[in-house]
């Protein structure tokens, strides 16, 4: 028989002739952004599907909800101090057959609701105030723009506690001296010029911009950190706020100076001008200062700086412009202040160096430091260089990891006893997480079907066997102490572990939630 006339061939021809159109939604990628944990829920954002899948683990059986988002989700982060996720969507620039869509910011709750603010530009970075009220959308200078033209100094300030309106968000372009915003830091509420307000400090290459969130209609205040003829990009990187004295301390990665900005009241030049201006002071802080911390009371504020380049620490009195140099036996690039308990004022500083620069740490007693100098410094040898550190001052513990060939080992530094307990580990500290009440530290070694943990009460380590390798571990909030070990898998998969009873018998697998309602989606 002629092959063309075979019954099966004829059937296929009829099939092709009668083909219906497949719903294009099923061809879209199910890939997710890195999952976000907020409260008792996990948020999986699927950019191609313009949705977030929310898995609330606060119930006996996890509840799965799907929430519609704006087009082109690019970033998902937990909202500070809230059980919500913030999702920044870049919108759609439009193409043949595809309508343009605006960029947006959405706050998604664990109960599956979302509030959305439309943004004027496809921002790629998001900063938040500590209380989670304010969000500032900016352009990440390292991200791909995907737009023909864009202004990297444009930003949008969103009041997350207020509904979208003509004045929320506030969109503006900050003054530039050729640089672009690199990072944004929010101040705590502090009294400036007699008024309590929150400032957003935008860090650019060689200057900072102060935005007054209490008066977003006012002009921003821009502070150059270098002389106009100086073309260096000093890269401001750390900001501390002295709330009582309305002062901002600034450290830059490529500068040996510390910048102190005291915010003083002035008479505004116009209705849109600010009623304060920064009085700038510049102090020498050793070679390559890498961390700083505020000490003392409001009346006698000092700033402690560590400078690994000069292997010292300095106590700076920014009012008297004096400095006390403390030579260190071991170079340090981090400072951790701690007191007798979590609520007591800090009385001691731990100075330590990560990334292999030191194998010892220094304890510095802050009391009468300017007079006693090196007498207040005690060095503790760990015997191995420090790779990374997880400080936990409220539990008086710092967990150090030590590079050791392909595997690593850990040290638990007891800040009270000033002892270091070694813990042998097959895994590095990378990706280690504390659980909600910071009682246990969890490690999900890459490629291993096990989750390690250390109970910080007794420094007891343990492990839980999993059904698949974990890609990350996240702490979940809510009534119970739980963590979720995340697994790869387009269907959505994590293992829920009881932090109070970290055994396999008290673990359960939650899998397939990204497929929930899959067959009903085509009709949407």
């Amino acid at each position: 028989m002629n092959p063309i006339l075979r019954p099966q061939t004829l059937c296929f021809a009829l099939v092709l002739a009668a083909c219906g159109q497949r719903d294009p939604r099923y061809g879209l990628s199910m890939a997710t952004l890195p999952p976000v944990a907020a409260g008792s829920a996990l948020f999986y954002v699927q950019p191609a599907l313009d949705r977030a899948v929310v898995v609330d683990t606060g119930t006996t059986d996890p509840t799965v909800r799907s929430v519609a988002l704006g087009t082109g989700a690019a970033l998902a982060v937990p909202r500070a101090a809230h059980a919500e996720a913030l999702v920044l969507s870049r919108g759609e620039r439009g193409s043949d057959g595809v309508d343009p869509a605006p960029a947006s910011l959405a706050a998604v709750t664990a109960t599956g609701t979302a509030r959305r603010w439309t943004l004027d530009a496809p921002f790629t970075a998001l900063s938040q105030s500590d209380d989670g009220r304010w969000a500032l959308a900016t352009f990440d200078p390292h991200a791909v723009s995907e737009r023909l033209l864009f202004n990297p100094n444009e930003l949008a300030l969103v009041d997350l506690d207020a509904a979208p309106s003509a004045t929320n968000p506030v969109v503006r372009t900050v003054r530039s001296f050729g640089g672009v915003p690199q990072r944004v830091v929010f101040s705590p509420a502090m009294v400036v010029a007699g008024e309590r307000r929150v400032l957003a400090v935008v860090l650019s290459d060689a200057y900072v911009t102060l935005l007054d969130l209490a008066h977003p209609d006012r002009s921003e205040v821009t502070v150059r950190l270098t002389l106009p003829e100086d073309t260096r990009a000093i890269a401001p990187s750390q900001v501390l706020f002295d709330v009582e004295n309305a002062t901002i301390y600034l450290r830059a990665d490529a500068s040996n100076d510390l910048y102190v900005m005291r915010l003083v009241q002035v008479t505004p030049a116009s209705a849109t001008s600010e009623d304060f201006r920064p009085a700038l002071n510049q102090l020498a802080a050793g070679t390559h200062p890498s961390d700083m911390a505020l000490t003392g009371t409001a009346a006698a504020r000092r700033v402690l700086v560590v400078s690994p380049g000069s292997q010292d620490a300095r106590l700076l009195d920014t009012v008297a412009n004096t400095s006390t140099v403390l030579p260190l036996s071991a170079p340090a690039n981090h400072i951790l202040l701690f007191g007798a308990d979590a609520t007591a004022p800090a009385t001691t500083a731990l100075l330590y160096g990560t990334n292999g620069v030191a194998s010892a740490v220094s304890f510095v007693a802050l009391t009468d430091l300017a007079a006693r100098r090196s007498l207040n410094v005690e060095t503790l040898q760990l015997g191995r260089t420090i790779g990374d550190a997880l400080p936990l001052p409220e539990r008086k513990v710092v967990l150090f990891s030590h590079p050791s060939g392909t595997t690593g080992s850990l040290s638990l530094l007891d800040l009270s006893q000033r002892t270091a307990a070694p813990i042998y580990s097959e895994a590095s500290l990378g990706g280690a997480r504390f659980d909600g009440d910071r009682q246990t530290v969890w490690v999900a070694p890459d490629g291993l079907q096990r989750l390690g943990y250390i109970d910080l009460d007794g420094f007891r380590p343990g492990e839980v066997r999993l059904d698949a390798a974990a890609t990350d571990v996240v702490a979940l909030g809510g009534a119970a102490r739980r963590v979720a070990a995340l697994h790869a898998g387009a269907e959505g998969w994590f293992t829920l572990i009881d932090g109070a009873q970290p055994t396999r018998a008290h673990a359960r697998s939650v899998r397939g939630f990204l497929l929930e309602g899959l067959l009903d989606e085509g009709a949407q």
Binding site: P7, Q8, L10, C11, F12, L14, V15, L16, A18, C19, G20, Q21, R22, D23, R25, Y26, G27, L28, S29, M30, A31, D61, L466, D467, A468, A469, H487, A488, G489, A490, E491, W493, T495, R504, A507, R508, S509, V510, R511, G512, F513, L515, E516, G517, L518, L519, D520, E521, G522, A523
Partner: protein, 229 residues
């Protein structure tokens, strides 16, 4: 399933007795069918690149009565299946096998000895099982699930019959088209323990995932080649 088959077999055996009383020439017909299914519901899109799929099946029927000299009533038992291979989400290979077992009643009209238009209706059960296999290489097992549903069909066609050979045997060829009316199947999937290299034997408890409603209703077209005797 076994109950359903037993009921259908009973119908056919009962029909065989009735047919013998009616003295119908060559009352039995067996055949295989090839054809296409046209799905109306978008839920099928998750498992195939198009709404139309190749289908095949087996049929056994028995003439049970005649009326007005030219009319014949027949009962039948029909099994058909289709397999949908596809994928979705750029993440899963999918395989959906859908079976339908129906008991039908048809009425043929003898326009000529060799040419008989007919109408047919049937009711029965549908069974679907599916497997979702991750495309990415991982140690994750496939997800699998199955579900039953009730369905019915209504259609019309023509049957062509050859001359007799081997005393009373005849070849038969039929073409039929119609509609399938199915209740939605709620598909739930869970890790497939039978998948090689999958989850350990003592895997942690995991609940099933509800994919939603799968509806295999739509249209059909089939060609049947068989033997009457």
């Amino acid at each position: 399933m076994n109950t359903f088959v037993a009921v259908c077999a009973g119908v056919l055996l009962g029909a065989g007795t009735a047919g013998a009383q009616a003295r119908i020439d060559a009352p039995w017909r067996v055949g295989i069918s090839l054809g296409a299914r046209f799905h109306a519901d978008s839920s099928v899109d998750a498992f195939a690149s198009g709404r139309s799929q190749f289908a095949s099946g087996l049929s056994l029927s028995r003439d049970v009565a005649t009326f007005r000299e030219r009319g014949t009533v027949a009962v039948d038992l029909d099994w058909s299946m289709e397999t949908l291979d596809g994928g979705f989400g750029q993440a899963f290979h999918t395989r959906l096998s859908a079976h339908a077992l129906t008991a039908g009643l048809s009425v043929r009209w003898h326009v000529a000895r060799w040419f008989e238009p007919y109408a047919r209706a049937s009711v029965g059960a549908g069974y679907s099982d599916l497997a979702l296999t991750p495309q990415a290489s991982s140690n994750a097992s496939a997800l699998a699930g199955d579900a039953w549903t009730l369905l019915g069909t209504a259609g019309a066609g023509v049957q062509l019959t050859t001359g007799t050979f081997l005393r009373r045997a005849r070849f038969v060829f039929a073409v039929e088209a119609g509609g399938v009316f199915a209740m939605s199947q709620t598909m739930r999937v869970a890790p497939d323990a039978a998948h090689p290299g999958s989850t350990p034997a003592d895997a942690l408890p995991v609940g099933a995932t509800t994919l939603g409603g799968l509806n295999l209703g739509g249209g059909y077209f089939k060609m049947l080649v068989g033997l009457r005797f």
